[in-house]
């Protein structure tokens, strides 16, 4: 039985070059970067190099990059940091209904503390209405936080235009770019973004490291207090090996961006084509063109996504439905529901997230095993028997 991993939006394996770059920093160059002696000094320059690489991936300057413990921490830092720093100016924050839970739950937490949050709705392809965004801005608005690309559908938001609106109104704009970084070009010289969150383990770096871009001059309250690390923005002894890993992963991502993009796009479209050729009653969830090159979210009508997921697992294919963090309970995805997708269709959705190591054979194997699983499940499904006409 073949093992195919197609859940790269959940996490990615560490790239061999990344692991190699990290190794010296566990036992040989292990010093605390804040120490004044040789052990501390010798790791500082590797940290600087890593920081430069992350900055280069985003076309930002190194002193605007800080390292965090993970992407969720970066999101928390951005939103809570701005909320606390600007609390005298106002208490209103604008976000969308399709953000990752790291953003949504942080906003809900702030609501309990007296902040007001506007959750912008999205259309059937997962995008917000820019006019609606404009109209929801008030005098007390202190932050707009809208993701770069959606983790479940891959839909890419018009970050340039959103940033321009924010800039025009003088409001800080944070974007959760955790899924987008390394998959599509991000140029912070051009994009009017003030804060950007990044996660290592979506980028072929290990889990447990993240980064944050903070445009110079953006007021942000720290969440983690202690030492003066990361320019006083995020205390805690620097996780040098993992920082080095993230730096290396960023370097590779930048080097291979176009090559990976083309490879992923070809595989994804081959998978998509294979599915629609062999399986009827399927639906794409997400924008048809403005989408991450690796993400394919499809609903297989008349069956339960959970059963499809488990059956694929038994055939060795790893995919997911909903987002990984909520998969324990397999509830209907809040993203798909916000897109107006009927619950039965949302429940039958599967997300394929391709990665750099996936091959044509992986895609072809998946396309081979899927139809008979789907047919068997449909044969057992009372919904399929009734063949209710569903408006797609």
């Amino acid at each position: 039985m073949r093992r195919v991993y197609m859940d790269h939006n959940a996490t990615t394996p560490v790239h061999p070059e990344v692991l190699e770059a990290m190794m010296p920093f566990f036992m040989e160059k292990f010093g605390n970067a804040s120490s004044i002696h040789w052990a501390g000094r010798e790791v500082k320059k590797y940290m600087d190099e890593a920081r430069e690489n992350v900055a280069a991936l985003l076309n930002a300057t190194p002193n605007e990059i800080i390292f965090t413990g993970c992407g969720t921490e970066s999101d928390n830092m951005a939103i809570k940091g701005v909320a606390f720093a600007a609390r005298e100016k106002g208490r209103h924050i604008i976000t969308t209904q399709v953000e990752h839970h790291a953003v949504l739950h942080t906003c809900q937490f702030l609501e309990k503390m007296g902040y007001e949050i506007t959750y912008l709705p999205v259309d059937s392809e997962g995008l917000i209405d820019l006019t609606e965004l404009r109209h929801s801005i008030r005098d007390q608005t202190i932050l707009i936080t809208i993701m770069f690309a959606n983790n479940e559908t891959g839909t890419i938001f018009p970050v340039q235009k959103i940033g321009e609106i924010a800039r025009e109104k003088g409001i800080i704009f944070h974007t959760d770019a955790i899924q987008a970084a390394g998959k599509v070009p991000i140029d912070l010289q051009r994009l009017p973004v003030d804060i950007l969150s990044l996660s290592g383990h979506k980028l072929y770096a290990p889990k447990g490291i993240g980064a944050q871009y903070i445009r110079s001059g953006t007021p942000l309250t720290s969440l983690i207090h202690g030492g003066a690390q990361e320019r006083n923005r995020r205390a805690g002894t620097e996780n040098v090996p993992y920082i080095v890993g993230l730096g290396k992963a960023s370097e590779i991502a930048r080097r291979d961006l176009q090559k990976r993009h083309d490879h992923l796009l070809a595989l994804r479209d081959r998978l998509h084509q294979g599915i629609i050729n062999r399986i009827p009653h399927v639906k794409l969830n997400g924008h048809p063109t403005e989408r991450l090159p690796n993400t394919l979210n499809m609903s297989f009508l008349y069956i339960e996504g959970e059963s499809l997921l488990l059956n694929l697992d038994l055939e060795g294919v790893a995919v997911s439905s909903g987002s990984a963090c909520t998969s324990g309970s397999l509830e209907s995805s809040h993203v798909l529901l916000a897109m107006g997708i009927p619950p039965e269709v949302a429940q039958s959705a599967i997300r394929f997230g391709l990665g750099w190591s996936n091959t044509l054979e992986d895609v072809d194997y998946t396309v081979e095993v899927l139809p008979r699983i789907v047919q068997r499940l449909r044969d057992m499904s009372p919904l399929y028997q009734k063949r209710v006409g569903m408006a797609l």
């Binding site: 059963s307 488990l310 059956n311 038994l314 397999l330 068997r376 057992m380």
Partner: protein, 368 residues
């Protein structure tokens, strides 16, 4: 039941020693086993009760560790919505009607052997196995069509056939009870021999979703404070003897908590939900000569044609009373006890046995 050749079987794993051993045994016998743990309810972290309640995070964890140990795939199946509707809501509604419910039977009928069984089939399993102490037998008599029979577990003390009376022929054709021929002691031995980490785990005797067996508090919390309506306690003639603090706090045969000052003790005879009254009386008045059962499911035969002699159990731990069953309308059965019984409780299950064979069973509508 599965025909020649081993094939794929799913096992409902609760994280307890019984279902864990059942899974291990089937794997040893050469079946391709898939472990499934149902997520039925979200236990709130009260800090009380460490083990034994179904699908707490620890139980799911235990099931997963056992699956790992045995070397089988393991999935958690989310059935919370159906469980809340079919089992928990039924449980609360029965109490409010003045009846004493049996949620475990409903869980078997509507959740385990319906939804979970379907899930198992969707995964390619030919059958679902559980750790119940009971036996399913395919009976082929020369003159009669094939019929599945349900028998008590060999370990009479652990026998759980009482909770399985509502199984249909179709369900029985796809269910396995690997522990039916074993005693509890043998099962624990087996678990220890296999080195299963749950071999020494304690048993749960409570209803899985009610913390600390406090049914009254559970029903109150679920429905809100308003349901605790005090009302009158009366005797059979309607004479008011005292006051009760809410029907759901009482059960048939209950002696304590009535607060009636009298030379002899009073017992709860009936719960009148319509008029919100507890009917109490002397011990002799508790005696019933029979009962009417409704929603009867027959296993040993398709329907009750005439009178039949059987042993009737009105509670799980009831030794059983010889009785005569006769058919009534609408799937109901009249049961006449040969020896009168105390505390016949509406809402409980009445299960009919012939030796160790479960003829069928139904729900107690009222005592006669």
């Amino acid at each position: 039941m599965l025909g020649g050749g081993k094939s794929c079987v799913a096992v409902a794993m609760s994280g307890g020693v019984d279902s864990s051993t059942a899974a291990a045994l089937l794997k040893e016998e050469g079946y391709e086993v898939i472990g499934l743990t149902m997520h039925l309810w979200d236990q709130t972290q009260d800090g009380r009760g460490k083990f034994g309640r179904c699908c707490s995070p620890e139980d799911i964890h235990d099931a997963r560790r056992v699956a790992d140990q045995i070397g089988i795939p393991h999935y958690v199946i989310n059935l919370r919505k159906a469980f809340a509707e079919e089992v928990v809501d039924y449980f609360v509604a029965e109490y409010l009607k003045g009846r004493t419910p049996n949620p475990c039977v409903l869980c078997n009928e509507k959740i385990k052997f319906d939804l979970l069984l379907r899930k198992a089939e969707e995964l390619g399993a030919k059958a679902l196995a559980t750790g119940h102490y009971a036996r399913i037998e395919l009976c082929s008599s020369p003159k009669k069509p094939l019929r599945y029979l349900l028998r008590r577990g060999k370990d009479r003390n652990k026998d759980q056939s009482y909770f399985l009376f509502s199984m249909t022929q179709e369900q029985m054709s796809k269910v396995l009870f690997p522990l039916g021929e074993k005693s509890k002691a043998e099962v624990r031995q087996q678990a220890l021999k296999l080195g299963l980490r749950v071999a020494k785990k304690a048993e749960s005797q409570e209803i899985c979703f009610v913390p600390d067996d406090d049914y009254r508090r559970f029903v109150e919390k679920r429905k809100g404070r308003e349901i605790s309506q005090p009302g009158e306690i009366v005797n059979r003639d309607g004479k008011v003897l005292g006051f009760h603090r809410g029907l759901h706090s009482y059960t048939i045969g209950q002696r304590r908590g009535l607060g009636i000052a009298a030379p002899h003790p009073y017992y709860v005879l009936a719960l009148d939900a319509e008029r919100n009254r507890v009917v109490a009386g002397k011990k002799e008045e508790l005696i019933a000569h029979g009962l009417v059962a409704s929603g009867v499911n027959w296993i040993s035969f398709p329907r009750l044609e005439g009178e039949v002699e059987a042993l009737v159990q009105i509670r799980h731990r009831h030794p059983g009373t010889p009785a005569i069953l006769s058919p009534l309308d609408m799937g109901r059965v009249k049961v006449d006890f040969k020896i009168p019984l105390n505390s016949v409780t509406p809402g409980q299950a009445a299960v009919f046995y012939l030796e160790d064979e479960v003829l069928g069973g139904g729900w107690i509508e009222r005592a006669l």
